[in-house]
Amino acid sequence: MIAYTLKRIAIAIPTLLVLIVISFLLMHAAPGGPFTSERELPPQVLANLNAKYGLDDPLWKQIGTYVWNIVTGFDFGPSFVYKDRTVNEIIGAGFPITLTYGLLSFVVAVTVGVSLGVAAAVRHNSALDYAAVGLSIGAQVLPNFVMAPILVLVFTLWLGWLPGGGWQGPETWIMPVIALSTSFMASIARITRSSMLEVLGSNHIRAARAKGLPEHRVILRHALKPAMLPVISYLGPAFVGMITGSVVIDIYFSTGGIGKAFVDSALNRDYAVMMGVTILMGALTITFNLVVDILYGWIDPKIRY
């Protein structure tokens, strides 16, 4: 287990390097530099800007310096567009926000999704089951960029219950979390339901029931753990989906997270921020997949590493 974990971490490093190199090359090959502005800049100003950001070095040296600064000082350099900020500052300001609503959404999606799925499976073919299935199918196909404006329209404009955006305390967290978590909650509910049904029909549950254990114990102690396996393997893709979804959340709810910062940096050719966010997201994805795998092994000891 520990050896496996170490091996995975060892893979993470070349992965990040590949990521850095690919995105670096992609960006530098693209038309429209970070300093393309409405009026063509005087050569001296452009030269100074390029010198300031190290863009006048050969490409290999730029990549080298970049990686070196990250490794030695965790320094992602200054932003090309937000000139009075560094990438560290931008990520430092935006990431806690994204992390907050991301984690909340994750917790909501998993708890509500699993409960709904288990309830539906236990009351198979009941009204509750049908309602849960209908709801989760509906929620799964409704894009969050449709849900977000509807939420604002209803809760902000019509009911006046919640502020329509911003990031000023728990009041402003509610709608982002709903908009981000719903479709994942639905998927989790669907997966839980079908895997729970399968487990409930299996021999060891029949045996547990035959022993006369009360139903809630059968479900919680014996059925839930094996039924969670497919859910756990869905968490990886769900996590990646949430990262993507944060872009929509930031745009509609003006939360100031890094999803929007990424899109802006791509549009503005802010190489530094774009690289910083991409690397951060890559690192997060790697970490998360690792956690999921370890969790998986803990639940299902049959898995060999």
Partner: protein, 303 residues
């Protein structure tokens, strides 16, 4: 994903004989949800292919009679010939929904195909050769899996302009890794079977074995996975369209129509969201139901 791989490994093994396909077909059509999904897909496809014949307007001309007063005059109406109403510029939403459905289906199907072809070849190769080749190839997959693809796709579309080719390839390349893993798992178990060994013993080359003997035996898994992949591709495309990076005007996709409609939802033109969203949801439902149905049908375990 490990779970899926192992489950499907068990299921696919007996799918070698022809009669099993007939069996699967019978099971599939007995499944009411799957049947409903199938009917929906037939309907949506027919709408995409032939719906244009019923349109009274092209999706490009501006109806100057309603332009500027779309909220009042541009609603769905048989009299004006705009069955689904018009968009903000007075363009016929029916014709545009037909076109959007075509594009979305195309992106979904082609994207899924690309993912399947690349994933299958890669996975089968890794699984067949095994050993060091396998571990290097699968390590590479691990590395690729950690790349935030949506970000890379956004980068590509922003920097190299919106091209439908990049879109097709981009959404396809996002998803081939999962496919590769599943196929590799299957191939590992198939590789030791008699018919493969027999082929190898008679000196058939590796690419031919993979193409003739391994891949055909994986078709069931591939079909299931591909069907479930299509809606994901369509969702991805809709997200890209929301960012304004999707297909170019005057062409459109369901995602583009929905995001336009969602933006103006407060202005009394709900049909601009409603109709495209209806077809969007129908398409996704169809693929989800059919995909689930296929999985159940190809799964020999009795439900």
């Amino acid at each position: 994903m490990v779970a899926t791989a192992e489950q499907t490994a068990e299921q696919a093994a007996p799918a070698a004989g022809r009669s099993l396909w007939a069996d699967a077909r019978r099971r599939f059509f007995r499944n009411r949800a799957a049947l409903l999904g199938f009917v929906i897909l037939v309907f949506v496809t027919a709408f995409a292919l032939f719906g244009g014949a019923l349109a009274q307007w092209s999706g490009e001309e501006l109806d100057y009679a309603v332009m500027g007063q779309v909220a009042e005059l541009g609603g769905p109406s048989l009299a004006t010939g705009h069955y689904f109403g018009t968009d903000d510029l007075g363009r016929d939403l029916y014709a545009r929904t037909v076109q959007g459905t075509q594009i979305s289906l195309a992106v979904g199907v082609i994207g899924a195909l690309i993912a399947c072809v690349v994933g299958t070849l890669y996975g089968a190769t890794a699984g067949y050769f095994g050993g060091r080749t396998d571990s290097v190839m699968m390590r590479l997959v691990d590395i690729f899996m950690a790349v935030p693809y949506m970000f890379i796709l956004i980068l590509l579309l922003v920097m190299y302009g919106r091209s439908i080719t990049i879109l097709f390839i981009g959404v396809g390349l996002i998803s081939w890794m999962e496919m590769a893993r599943i196929v590799r798992g299957q191939t590992l178990s198939l590789k030791g079977r008699e018919f493969v060994e027999a082929a190898r013993a008679t000196g058939v080359s590796a690419p031919v074995i993979i193409a003739r003997h391994i891949v055909p035996n994986l078709l069931g898994v591939i079909a299931v996975y591909a069907t479930l992949l299509v809606p994901l591709m369509i969702l991805t495309e809709s997200f890209i369209s929301f960012l304004g990076l999707g297909v170019q005007e005057p062409m459109t996709s369901l995602g583009a129509l929905i995001s336009e409609g969602a933006g103006t939802i407060a202005y009394g033109t709900t049909w601009q969201l409603g109709f495209p969203l209806l077809f969007f949801c129908l398409t996704l439902f169809g693929f989800f139901f059919v995909g689930d149905g296929l999985r159940d049908a190809l799964d020999p375990k009795d439900r």
